[in-house]
């Protein structure tokens, strides 16, 4: 696909939604190295969510609506949209998948929205090196010679790892993504700093925790309440170390990651309570949450609250619940 039509470099847009919160830094580095100009859409705003909700099916989760809104926002400025399609992202003896909505994200954009620039996909689907395979598929589509794509992949891999390292060190996911894409000092976004009172572990998909608007600035708010915050993003890319409890066989890789981080975080001595952030109508979460609670994956006795996000922006009810939760944790700490 030759889209340069005389200009310097073709512009490829990556909507900041869904799996882009995992792969955007990697893809940006890959595309820049291949001579494209890569643009990641700006952080979500209420108008983006509104546009997305208006052009999307009603009862789908808010993250997909954000994807639609972000794609519409990018529509005019780019020659090509690039959407990651993670399918098999880990090695297991059984079949593994991600959420169907992530697996069909490019299809939904292609057939669900009109007048979009062509939508390319970055397919992560098993193999010895899934990312390399995805890159080669993308390179073929963009007419990049394989040797160049391979060199770009090596550089991009390092960039992706850098991003994961930032996340693992406890940097705010939004700031980590920002600094991985455009450079900048992520140090001020350290969530796990200090010896806060209490320590709250927040578990949720990176596309919810990293999206300040959709999550009603949950992480900052918790910091503002004086809490130290650990997130499930800190276990990003670790791929199941020594998990203290048996996790039921789950074919959803990302939900499995969340269940594992819930098991690990709830067994850390310094964690006082757990917040599970999910979106309204999230399919896998509706069952995984049930397993977390009933199979003792979250250590019994650890305060556990579930917060449901949707596209309606009215944060006050949300914030009241947060404050009550933090107050309760604080009181529990003092009573011991």
């Amino acid at each position: 696909m030759d889209m340069r039509d005389g200009r310097e470099a073709a512009v490829v847009g990556i909507p900041r939604a869904l799996a882009a919160y995992k792969y955007a830094p990697f893809l940006v580095a890959f595309l820049e190295e291949c001579g494209f100009k890569a643009v990641v859409s700006p952080p979500t705003t209420s108008s983006i969510v509104k546009e997305g909700s208006a052009s999307c099916v009603e009862d789908i989760c808010v993250a997909v609506k954000v994807l639609f809104g972000q794609a519409l926002r990018l529509r005019d400025g780019v020659d090509l949209l690039l959407v990651p399609r993670p399918v098999k992202v880990e090695k297991r003896p059984h079949d593994t998948f991600t959420c169907p909505k992530l697996m069909a994200a490019p299809d939904m954009l292609r057939h669900g929205l009109r007048d979009l620039p062509p939508v390319a996909e970055f397919l992560v689907s098993g193999g010895r090196e899934p990312l390399l395979r995805g890159c080669m598929g993308l390179a073929k589509k963009l007419k990049i010679p394989p040797w160049r794509a391979y060199r770009a992949y090596r550089k991009a891999y390092a960039a992706g790892e850098r991003y994961f390292r930032l996340l693992r060190s406890g940097v705010h996911p939004t700031k980590a993504l920002e600094s991985a894409i455009s450079g900048g000092n992520p140090e001020d976004g350290l969530l796990a700093a200090g010896n806060g009172d209490p320590t709250v572990a927040v578990i949720g998909h990176p596309y919810l925790l990293g999206d300040g608007h959709v999550s009603h600035h949950l992480l900052e708010r918790l910091r503002g309440l004086g809490a130290r915050v650990l997130t499930s993003c800190m276990y990003e890319g670790l791929g199941g170390g020594c998990i203290p409890v048996p996790i039921p066989p789950l074919s959803w890789s990302y939900e499995r990651e969340l269940a594992e981080s819930a098991a690990l975080l709830s067994r850390r001595g310094d964690v006082d309570g757990i917040l599970y952030v999910t979106s309204f109508g999230c399919g896998p979460d509706s069952l995984v949450l049930e397993m977390l609670r009933r199979e003792g994956i979250v250590r019994p006795g650890v305060p556990f609250m579930e917060l449901v996000l949707d596209e309606h922006d009215g944060p006050s009810g949300f914030h009241t619940r947060l404050e009550a939760f933090v107050d309760m944790l604080r009181r529990k700490r003092r009573s011991f």
Binding site: D59, T96, D107, S251, C282, L287, E295
Partner: protein, 382 residues
């Protein structure tokens, strides 16, 4: 071993035969209703899809009836259905019920066979083979009768004739215990169906695609197919059938597997990945509807269903391209029959108009054929 399984349409007839032929006892809970739905929703997670809630209600009813083993299909798919059994049994155990789980899936097949072996005893292979033969014959007969009833229902002269016949022949089929008897009962029913008097008048044909359980369980889709037939003179044909669902995974009818393969090939330009549900049948059903002589498409799904919601974002554009009228129906525990009726009637009128058969007689016919309760209400007002 008193085995129970949740309802899905008439799937209980062949399943009951399978269990009883193995020498075990089958516990069949009452048909799903508002009561079992309410009971299920009380204990199910909030955002889970509707079939989970209904089948959970069925399981509770079966346990109350004295079942000691709950059978459910399970698997490692991307759709939530694969995890139904495991999660439901967790919930039921937390509610204090004691029972044995029989989760039937590719990963657990050895375990399931072991359990069956212990329960059935000597000669279990032979018994299982015979039971499977009976199961297939009954499933096929049930499917055929349902199909014939579906064809006759919108055309019958006396409303309800086809369903009355279907009911009696299904109960006779349920009582049949040998292959020969099943064949005889099916043949009798076939001739009886052909004798039902039909009325003249245009009938629109609609293909129904969507999520399996909502398509096949009349209690869940508020009797969509009958409503369309009686109120609107529309012949609605689901792309899926109980027969397909029961026999496709066990390869007892390779034709079904071939059909599924072709559907996947057809759906590939739109959905290249397997999403774990029946999305390929939905897409293929829409793509072939025009060629197979359907006038419209109804897409039925439970609220928050993942694969079907993805189809739902794709179908409007596709149907516009195919010039195929589309009606999307989302079902949850609050869906009301009145709202559904209004939408179905409007859709049927549109189909008739589009077909060019909206002659005065045609329209009059639709009006005359209304359901009796509606007339009763009118009488009360007067």
């Amino acid at each position: 071993m008193r085995i129970a399984f949740p309802h899905m349409g008439n799937a209980y007839i062949p399943l009951k035969a399978l269990v009883e032929e193995l020498g075990l006892e089958a516990v069949v809970p009452p048909r799903p209703s508002q009561h079992s739905l309410k009971e299920g929703s009380k204990h199910a997670p909030e955002f889970v899809c509707l079939p989970f809630k209904v089948t959970l209600g069925d399981c509770i009813a079966a346990l109350e009836m004295g079942a000691d083993t709950l059978a459910m299909v399970c698997g490692m798919w991307a759709c939530r259905f694969g995890y139904y059994g495991r999660t439901q049994h967790l919930i039921l155990r937390d509610l204090g019920y004691r029972f044995e789980s029989l989760l039937i899936g590719r990963e657990q097949i050895g375990e399931v066979l072991e359990k069956l072996k212990n329960a059935v005893g000597r000669g279990w292979q032979k018994k299982l083979a015979r039971a499977l033969r009976l199961f297939r014959a009954k499933a096929r007969a049930v499917d055929e009768l349902e199909r014939m009833a579906g064809e006759i229902r919108p055309r019958e002269a006396v409303k309800g004739a086809a369903d009355r016949l279907l009911e009696t022949s299904l109960s006779r089929l349920e009582a049949a215990s040998t292959l020969k008897e099943i064949r005889k009962r099916a043949e009798e029913a076939r001739t009886a169906f052909l004798e039902i008097p039909l009325s003249e008048g245009p009938v629109a044909r609609v293909r129904v695609v969507g999520e399996l359980y909502v398509l096949l369980e009349p209690a869940l889709n508020l009797d969509l197919v009958r409503r369309l037939a009686w109120n609107c003179r529309v012949e609605a044909r689901p792309v899926l059938s109980t027969y397909r669902w029961l026999l496709h995974p066990v390869w007892l009818d390779p034709k079904l597997n071939l059909e599924s393969y072709w559907a996947r090939r057809k759906a590939r330009p739109y959905l290249p990945q397997v999403l774990g549900g029946e999305e390929h049948m939905t897409m293929a059903g829409a793509l072939t509807a025009r060629r197979e002589g359907y006038d419209g498409l109804i897409h039925a799904l439970p609220l928050t269903c993942m694969p079907e919601n993805i189809c739902r974002t794709i179908l409007p554009e596709l149907c516009e391209k195919l010039d195929l009228p589309l009606l999307t129906l989302v079902f949850d525990e609050h869906t009301s029959p009145a709202g559904l009726d209004a939408r179905l009637e409007a859709f049927a009128d549109l189909l008739m108009a589009k077909k060019g058969k909206a002659t005065r007689e045609g329209r009059a016919h639709i009006r005359v054929d209304r359901e009796p309760p509606c007339q009763g209400r009118k009488r009360n007002f007067a």
